[in-house]
């Protein structure tokens, strides 16, 4: 009998822990009194105009406050009301949700839940030469060309979503931002408070990778003159994460005129199956796609699951269509870094889109150190995107995403580890396409393919990239080969197989 009581108590406590959280979708909105010109920041209006998006859009109208009040009275508490989804995230028990479900203004109810989000590991690496890494994380993207051209992300507003930003208000690497009042707004969505300068140092490192400058004047990231919106959306470094915080932060960033959003969040196996990484299933992916439709370029880390056999795919929201998913490369050799998640998405779309250094030298809470993770490849790329936006003003967000892909050092070649490669600043500073060259020839001898190298490698990063597709148009495998000979045996292939080969600035394909 006692045991039964224990079981009942335990189950009750379990139910208490697993609080029922729901998204309640509503039928309509009240547009009376809504004025986009007073509701939205001027930069948000400018962005809409630039992206040919109507300034008045029903999805921007806040949720009907009468409905919110009614739901608040009928539930335990309200977590967040999403104007984009016209939905209210609330906590309720079964009895309450049954009553809510029959309200005339309730269209649909979806159960929301907590999951784990992935952030990069932040261990300090035993590196003796930090200046090398600090220089390399930017030179991989030809960052010096932006610097020489005076392109520093000026006028571009970047929103960062993370677990906290301790000491961003005091660290010397952000002095140039603070002195010019370029931290426009901050908000802690986990506590509904303005102060975000505490908690996980992950956000500090991320911001440093976008815009930090060290005490000698050398940059950690490219967008040193960008403006910032800082949102704390996560409670700890690797905690249960609340999806609604992320969506709330997206809507907040939109309202406050963000051009670029950097996020290092990724829901994976705790919450989803790999087949659900289709950009349509997870709530955050749908939110990310909505942000893209508002003209915001969302840059998201591909994830750090590359070494996990049970999750050989990117996480959500990196699976979302129309956002920039960023993988990681080893700055020492420019090749995929082992932990960086692999694509494609479950529905076969290219992912990650591009990649950047997965090891960085950047500030943590107090001092600089070596950090690794796609969480830091993402802000390096977000900084690059801000610079690209400054270099090509007026380009729509979706077009800019394509431009960033085209600037990849492998473009038009891609694979599911590197995407189109590391974005190159020369694409934006000189406008040159890097796709036409004669660096090798493909020779076929029966079923064997050979690459004849006509231009010797000029840097340690000139590799031969090879991939094989089957007759039905699915990529079967891909490789990266070192180039130390004039003739490179690519292997034996069967009829119907297609190979694509990339070396330096040339990409060729051949069908067997």
């Amino acid at each position: 009998m006692r045991f039964l009581i224990i079981i009942v108590l335990l189950s009750l406590s379990f139910c208490g822990v697993a609080q029922n959280k729901y998204w309640v979708y509503l039928t309509d909105k009240d547009t009376v009194g809504y004025n986009p010109y007073s509701f939205l920041d001027q930069k948000a209006i400018d962005r809409r105009i630039q992206n040919d998006i109507p300034v008045f859009d029903i999805s921007d109208v806040p949720v009907n406050q009468i409905y919110v009040n009614t739901l608040s009275e009928m539930s335990d508490s309200i977590a967040f009301a999403s104007r984009w989804f016209n939905a209210v995230c609330l906590y309720a028990d079964n009895q309450q949700i049954n009553k809510i479900s029959v309200l005339p203004f309730v269209r649909e109810i979806e159960q929301a839940a907590s999951g784990f989000f992935t952030v990069a590991e932040t261990d300090t690496l035993p590196l003796s030469d930090d200046s090398w890494l600090q220089e390399k994380q930017l030179s991989l993207m030809q960052g010096e060309l932006f610097h020489q051209a005076g392109i520093t992300g000026k006028g571009i507003r970047v929103a960062i979503f993370d677990g906290g930003f301790p000491n961003v208000d005091v660290l010397p690497c952000f002095k140039h931002i603070r002195d010019n009042n370029r931290i426009i707004k901050t908000w802690d969505f986990t506590r509904n408070k303005e102060n975000v300068y505490g908690f996980s140092s992950h956000g500090t490192t991320v911001m440093c990778c976008i815009a930090g400058i060290d005490t000698t004047g050398r940059p950690f990231g490219l967008a040193t003159d960008a403006e910032f919106l800082l949102a704390r959306t996560e409670v700890n470094a690797e905690p249960f994460s609340e999806e609604e915080n992320w969506i709330a932060a997206l809507e907040w960033a939109d309202q406050n005129g963000a051009d670029v959003v950097n996020s290092s969040l990724g829901y994976t196996f705790n919450r989803y199956f790999p087949y659900q990484m289709d950009g349509k299933t997870s709530f955050v992916s749908r939110g990310a796609a909505k942000a893209a439709s508002k003209g915001i370029l969302v840059v998201n880390a591909a994830g750090n699951e590359g070494e996990k056999e049970n999750w050989k795919i990117i996480g959500a929201p990196a699976d979302a269509d129309s956002i920039l998913s960023v993988g990681g490369v080893d700055p020492e050799n420019g090749i995929h870094i082992s932990f960086s998640s692999y694509g494609p998405t479950a529905d076969g779309r290219l992912n990650p889109n591009v990649c950047a250094s997965g090891k960085v030298w950047a500030y943590g809470k107090k001092t600089p150190g070596a950090k690794y993770g796609t969480s830091f490849a993402s802000p390096l790329t977000a900084g690059f995107v801000a610079c690209a936006m400054q270099a090509k003003p007026g380009v729509k967000a979706m077009d800019m995403l394509f431009e960033i892909q085209k600037s990849g050092h492998l473009y038009p070649y891609f694979d599911y580890a590197h995407g189109y490669g590391v974005p190159q600043a020369s694409y934006f500073t000189s406008g040159l396409s890097t796709a036409i060259s004669a660096d090798f020839k493909l020779q076929v001898d029966g079923k064997t393919a050979i690459a004849i190298i006509t231009q010797k490698p000029t840097s340690g990063l000139d590799y031969l990239y090879l991939q094989c597709w089957n007759e039905s148009g699915k990529m079967e495998w891909y490789k990266v080969l070192s180039v130390n000979e004039e003739k490179i045996d690519l292997g034996v292939f069967t009829a119907g197989q297609i190979i694509k080969v990339h070396y330096r600035n040339q990409t060729e394909s051949m069908t067997f």
Partner: protein, 234 residues
């Protein structure tokens, strides 16, 4: 000279072989496009497990005083579950349990005997089978065990029943005695089983409904509640 030339040629050949190397290679496996039948949140799933358990006296019995933390045992076995819904699964388990009931050596005890030993315990090993219901509390979870509550029943056959005593002799020697096939210990037991868990870790409990001690010693009935911590292997 010839030998040196031959060695040099071999060295060059080796260099040539290593001149071109594969720096990275990945196969694109399309298995990610479908939900797997087998897995932590698949149609079926099995795992082996190991546990450390403690017998918990719920009543004071001065005549047969079982000690709380010293009475312990191990558990290992195999369990399978079948997913009915995201919230509900059914399963069975087969496991081997050891129970070592350690007795306080007091002057008032009269079971298993009235002698004060250095140590005294009744050991039971049991081969059990059980059925359980699993309730998961993670909505929309992936291929992931998650938070769960198990509730079920078990029955077991005692493969060994023994009484062990340790004594110190007057000559500072240690004397150990073990009596097997105790006639006053039942051959079977059955009871209720429950567990709460998160992924590979679990806290479980068993409440024995059957008596372990046979007539005429029923008043010395052993603690019915066992709680333990477990770890799942895959």
């Amino acid at each position: 000279m010839k030998k040196l030339f031959f060695s040099f040629s071999l060295f060059l050949l080796a260099l040539a072989i290593h001149a071109q190397s594969t720096l990275m290679e990945e196969s694109v496996i399309p298995a990610d496009s479908a939900r797997p039948d087998f897995g932590s949140n698949g149609k079926s799933f099995y795992n082996s497990f190991f546990g450390l358990q403690f017998m918990v006296p719920t009543e004071v019995n001065d005549k047969a005083p079982v000690r709380l933390l010293s009475s312990s045992g191990f558990r290992f076995g195999w369990m399978q579950k079948y997913r009915i819904s995201n919230f509900f699964s059914v399963g069975y388990l087969v496991d081997f349990n050891t129970y070592d009931y350690s007795y306080d050596q007091t002057t008032v005890k009269n079971f298993p005997d009235t002698i004060i030993h250095k140590q005294q315990s009744i050991g039971i090993s049991s081969l059990d089978g059980g059925l359980y219901f699993r309730f998961n509390f993670d909505t929309r979870r992936g291929n992931f065990i998650g938070h769960y509550l198990d509730a079920g029943a078990y029955a077991g056959y005692h493969v060994s029943r023994s009484l062990s005593t340790t004594d110190e002799t007057d000559f500072d020697q240690i004397s150990r005695n073990r009596i097997s096939r105790l006639h006053y210990i039942e051959r079977y037991q059955y009871g209720l089983y429950g567990a709460i868990g998160l992924n590979k870790f679990t806290i479980y409990g068993r409440y024995r409904l059957s008596d372990l001690i046979e007539w005429p010693y029923q008043s010395a009935e052993l603690p019915r509640l066992t709680v333990g911590i477990g770890f799942c292997f895959f």
